[in-house]
């Protein structure tokens, strides 16, 4: 962690998560962290290291390996006025808590006619490319994407991690906060000091371009940006949009971009079928068909049950910057 100016600090993504949680715990007594190994162990990525010493066991709550209980307890706390930040150690382990998230948390406001809300954040490291094999590589966003009442956030840059995590904690409704674990130490950036939020549901145009709009999120944002910059050298102009929030979807930013470029490529790591790209494709086809000069294309994970441990299997699953550049080239030239 290096302070480059009085106003910002250079941090990687995992340091930013830790710093943001620390400030939240300091600034708001209602906040607490609940999950596996968050106490004495200090989280498997050391995000909550030493927290229990400072904030005590009532605010840094170690649980058994029981994800349904982690979220279920947090839902009750949130309904009664606390601001729990539940942690699923790896997104791959979220399934036992599915009912608590989908069946309970997402429906509480509606079910109680607004009498109760559920200001709950569920943090989950997700994603592959780290030799995590079948149970430490999964992208889970599409499973929850279908559920009204639930927000899903997946930042790519440290500054966004902080602003969006603060906004998620402030939000009166449940937020699934997905952190791509390959970006944890890979991605560094300047993070403004002090408290700030970035509104949920707002995408970020990272690079402007005239011939193709590329929409992505998570790790692949960085690779798509790399590919687009490479194409710049070839005289091809590609716009790169970081969704940041997966749901609510920032329709306006996507549609304004497609209106200019007339071509859309969606890139994500999660499986293609029924994924985030499918919904964006459908939205653009419904809203902007007569602006499209090429079929919408999705570059996504293959429809296989999981990411294999063997390196060739993992590489086959993941899209590379070179593959992204090739897809972009083909679409620009179409």
């Amino acid at each position: 962690m290096a302070v480059v100016s009085a106003n910002s600090t250079v941090m990687n993504n995992v340091e930013t998560v830790r710093a943001t949680l620390y400030e939240a715990l300091r600034n708001d007594e209602r906040t607490l962290i609940i999950g596996e190994d968050v106490g004495a162990r200090g989280n498997v990525f050391l995000i909550t290291k030493d927290f229990v010493g400072e904030f005590g066991e009532r605010r840094i709550v170690d649980t058994p390996i029981a994800e349904a209980s982690i979220v279920g307890i947090a839902v009750g706390m949130a309904m009664e006025g606390l601001r729990p930040i539940a942690e699923i150690q790896f997104a791959d382990f979220i399934y036992p808590s599915f009912n608590q998230i989908v069946g309970e948390a997402a429906k509480i406001r509606y079910r109680s006619n607004g009498e109760y809300t559920c200001p709950l954040v569920i943090r989950a490291p997700y994603g592959g490319g780290v030799r995590g094999a079948l149970s430490h590589s999964v992208s889970v966003e599409a499973l929850f994407y279908h559920v009204p009442g639930l927000k899903i956030v997946a930042p790519s840059f440290p500054a966004d991690v902080k602003g969006l995590l603060n906004a998620s904690i402030d939000d009166p409704d449940p937020v699934l906060f997905l952190e791509h674990k390959k970006t944890y130490r890979l991605i560094k950036g300047e993070v403004p000091n002090g408290h700030y939020t970035i509104p949920l549901g707002k995408a970020n145009v990272l690079k402007e371009g005239a011939q193709l709009s590329v929409v992505s999120y998570g790790l692949y944002v960085h690779w798509a940006l790399e590919a687009a910059r490479q194409l710049e050298q070839e005289g091809l102009s590609v716009e790169v949009i970081d969704l940041r929030s997966i749901r609510p979807m920032d329709k306006t930013t996507i549609l304004q971009s497609v209106e200019r470029t007339r071509k859309l490529l969606i890139i994500h790591e999660d499986n293609k079928f029924g994924g985030i790209g499918a919904e964006i494709s459908a939205m653009v086809a419904e809203e902007a068909l007569f602006n499209l000069d090429a079929p919408i294309r999705r570059l996504c994970g293959p429809d296989v049950p999981a990411m294999g441990y063997a390196l060739p299997l993992e590489e086959e699953f993941m899209s590379s910057p070179a593959e992204m550049a090739e897809a972009m080239r083909e679409m620009v030239k179409f």
Binding site: G235, L236, R262
Partner: protein, 431 residues
């Protein structure tokens, strides 16, 4: 424009390459497709062709140095910016004259069918823009893939139309700026030939030309043809086609069935899977009978011909051949073939019938004993052995053979065997 050349990926699993030797120095000029560096990897040593014509301005890696694929290794300053086939040509600058609908509706006829095709495939944006600008899509020359009219083409045509309507009649747009080479000969490219111009050979075309001449001059070609009843194979293919495509994502054509019959016939006639070895030094001339059956598949591309090879085709089922051939054809069209894909062929199959060809006399691929074609499948009235008349699907298959290796006796036996095997296939079974 300066083009940065990166270390190419020579082979699927290769992640780095060593600059073995620079074939050009800084300041040297280099032609498009001309090798300018030799790269070695653990799998292959290969010359790397320049993607552009120009002058070498920077060499970024020393000889003997190993770098990751994708690492910049050289910079070439491009000359003749008007090269229309340049892969990196910006799409907004149409290098071709744009035709705008004239008030009396006259339209050019030469490429009408291609344009009608692209109009049918016009994107929603193109249709909307054409409507808004009152332009006829069919009169606009496309700059997209396969001549597709793009939204930018419409907008460019609209700009031209608005700037010329005031001064009708519109002057003909200037032709593409000719590239002047020493000797002042006008040139054009193979992909977009212009009458009255000189087409310079790409490296690939030069090699094709040399090898064709060499084969035709050294191997005395003889030719034969059989007519094959493919009705049952055809029915089998139709029966399996949808499921096959669903399961593998590849199309199921007649090709794999044919190759299967070819490799079986080659097993029965090993001399057809051989090559003539000329005398050199103290070694005498002879015939080498190959112990592998590797089938080259001729694939025509817009600017050249490639013959990738299905290795050990005799060890593959029809399904296995279909998948291997589908992969090669797909990668050939995308320009993704490796050096390995093109090597080691022992016999060649040319699927020549797609455009209706009924007979052809192919040139043997050098170092092989023969090449066999599949011609168009056509329905014919056939008088059968029992004197009944039937409508059958018939296909001619033509064989060119190296008469130094085999005579008509072996060749006609091979063709008869091929015919017998294909006619015995189907109409159902395990692929």
């Amino acid at each position: 424009m300066a083009t940065t050349i990166t270390m190419p990926q020579l082979g699927e699993t290769v992640t780095e390459g060593t600059v073995a030797q620079w074939l050009k120095n800084i300041g040297d000029s280099v032609d498009k497709y001309e090798d300018f560096v030799e790269v070695s990897t653990d799998k292959v040593n290969a010359g790397v062709p320049s993607p552009v014509t120009g002058t070498i301005t920077e060499l970024l890696v020393k000889e003997g140095e190993t770098v990751a694929t994708g690492t910049p290794i050289a910079v070439i300053e491009e000359t003749g910016a008007a090269a229309p086939a340049s892969a990196a040509a910006p799409v907004q600058t149409p290098s071709q004259p744009i035709q705008v609908a004239s008030p009396n509706g006259a339209k050019p006829s030469a490429i009408e069918s291609a344009e009608a095709e692209s109009a049918r495939g016009a994107s929603p944006a193109v249709r909307r823009l054409a409507r808004e600008h009152r332009l006829d899509i069919q009169t606009i020359k496309g700059t997209g893939v396969n001549g597709r009219v793009t939204a930018d083409d419409i907008l460019a045509a609209a700009r031209t139309a608005s700037s010329t309507t005031a001064t009708a009649p519109a002057p003909p747009p200037p032709p593409t700026a000719p590239t002047i080479v020493p000797g002042a000969t006008r040139t054009s490219t193979y992909a977009q030939p212009i009458p009255g111009t000189f087409v310079q050979l790409s490296q690939a075309r030069r090699i094709i030309a040399e090898r064709m001449v060499e084969s035709k001059h050294t191997a005395p070609h003889a030719w034969s043809m059989v007519e094959i009843d493919v009705t049952h194979v055809w029915q089998w293919r139709l029966r399996e086609k949808d499921r096959f495509e669903r399961e593998t994502g590849s199309k199921l054509t007649l090709l794999p069935f044919f190759i299967r019959a070819v490799v079986q016939a080659l097993a029965a006639f090993p001399l057809m899977n051989a090559k003539y070895v000329a005398a050199s030094g103290s070694s005498q001339s002879g015939i080498y009978v190959n112990d592998e059956v590797n089938i080259g598949v001729a694939i025509g591309l817009p600017a050249n011909l490639v013959v990738p090879v299905i290795k050990h085709a005799d060890k593959l089922s029809i399904k296995g051949i279909a998948i291997a051939a589908g992969d090669l054809i797909d990668r050939a069209r995308r320009g993704k073939l490796n050096v390995d894909d093109l090597a080691g062929g022992t016999f060649t199959v040319n699927n020549n019938g797609a455009n209706g060809s009924w007979a052809s006399a192919p040139i043997i691929n050098g170092g092989q004993a023969g090449i066999v074609t599949m011609e168009a499948v056509v329905k014919k009235l056939v008088v059968r052995d029992d004197d009944s008349i039937a409508i059958r699907q018939m296909m001619n298959s033509c064989l060119s053979l190296d008469h130094r290796v085999v005579d008509g006796y072996v060749a006609s036996g091979f063709l008869a065997d091929l015919k017998r095997r294909l006619e015995a296939m189907g109409p159902q079974g395990e692929l």
